[in-house]
């Protein structure tokens, strides 16, 4: 007495869904990293910083551009300033024009 194929259909669906998850994660990570493998376990020196808008400051100064993002000065942020993308790489010996003045200074709020 064999097992009817209907009994195995759920297992097919389970395995298929694992496949969907895996392929989907692979594709979305590659997409987010411009076709390269994801970088992981970076230390602070390498890591691209999480950034957020400082909305209050935008309203007071009125200039809402990317310079107002909060950056931590890291190597991947330097890559962004040279190539324009997070994962872009360039081996030019000379930096593009304007790079020498685009480096961010950290500011802290004054403690009175």
């Amino acid at each position: 007495m064999g097992v009817p194929f209907e009994a195995l259909l759920p297992y097919g669906i389970i395995v298929g869904m694992f496949g969907v998850t895996g392929v989907g994660l692979y594709a979305s990570k590659r997409f987010l990293n411009e076709g390269k493998k994801n970088r992981w376990n970076n230390d602070i020196w390498d890591r691209q910083s999480k950034f957020e808008f400082d909305r209050g400051d935008m309203e007071t100064t009125g200039s809402g551009n990317w310079l107002k993002l909060i950056f931590i000065r890291t190597v991947m942020e330097r890559d962004l300033r040279i190539t324009g993308t997070w994962r872009g790489q360039s081996s030019n010996p000379v930096a593009p024009k304007g790079f020498e003045v685009s480096s961010p200074w950290k500011l802290e709020k004054r403690i009175y």
Partner: protein
């Protein structure tokens, strides 16, 4: 490894005022992280004297090194840029293969020993710069010349 950034700044300031004219200009190094990492040992080989000079100056300047060591710093920048330029001129394909591999493998040197061997031999032939790991034990084969890499994804011989 610290997972939390010690971050005390609330915002950043990008000051686009250029340096004053009485300070000599220097062109910044334009190589990004992976090419710089790939060329790091060659930069160290050619520019050791300049780098040591700069660090000595910073140490002697008692915290005023950013201002007083500008001259030494310019030498460091120019020397590093010259190494990158020379490698680009003479070993472009090997260089690109190596830093592409690094960028695709989380900047792990042990995943890219084969392109690294080719780059090392090309740079040694054309430029005479040799990769040596400072402080490595002298009676052992250095790690970048061992064909098997312990933690690499591919467990067999890499080259």
């Amino acid at each position: 490894m610290a997972q939390r950034d010690p971050m005390f700044n609330q915002q950043v300031l990008v000051d686009t005022t250029p340096m004053p004219d009485h300070i000599p200009k220097v062109e910044e190094v334009g190589a990004t992280s992976a090419p710089l990492f790939s060329a790091a040992y060659f930069i160290g080989d050619r520019c050791k004297a300049f780098n040591d000079d700069y660090m000595k100056c910073k140490e002697d300047a008692n915290g005023r090194g950013e201002i007083e060591c500008l001259k030494e710093g310019r030498k460091v920048t120019r020397c590093a840029a010259s190494v990158i330029k020379d490698i680009n001129t003479h070993c472009l394909s090997q260089f690109k293969a190596h830093w592409d591999c690094l960028e695709n493998n989380n900047h792990y040197l042990f995943e890219c020993r084969k392109p690294e061997q080719e780059l090392n031999s090309c740079v040694f032939e054309k430029l005479g710069l040799k990769k040596t790991i400072p402080g490595a034990p002298e009676h052992e084969v250095p790690v970048h010349q061992r064909p098997k890499q312990k933690y690499a994804q591919y467990p067999g011989r890499q080259f």
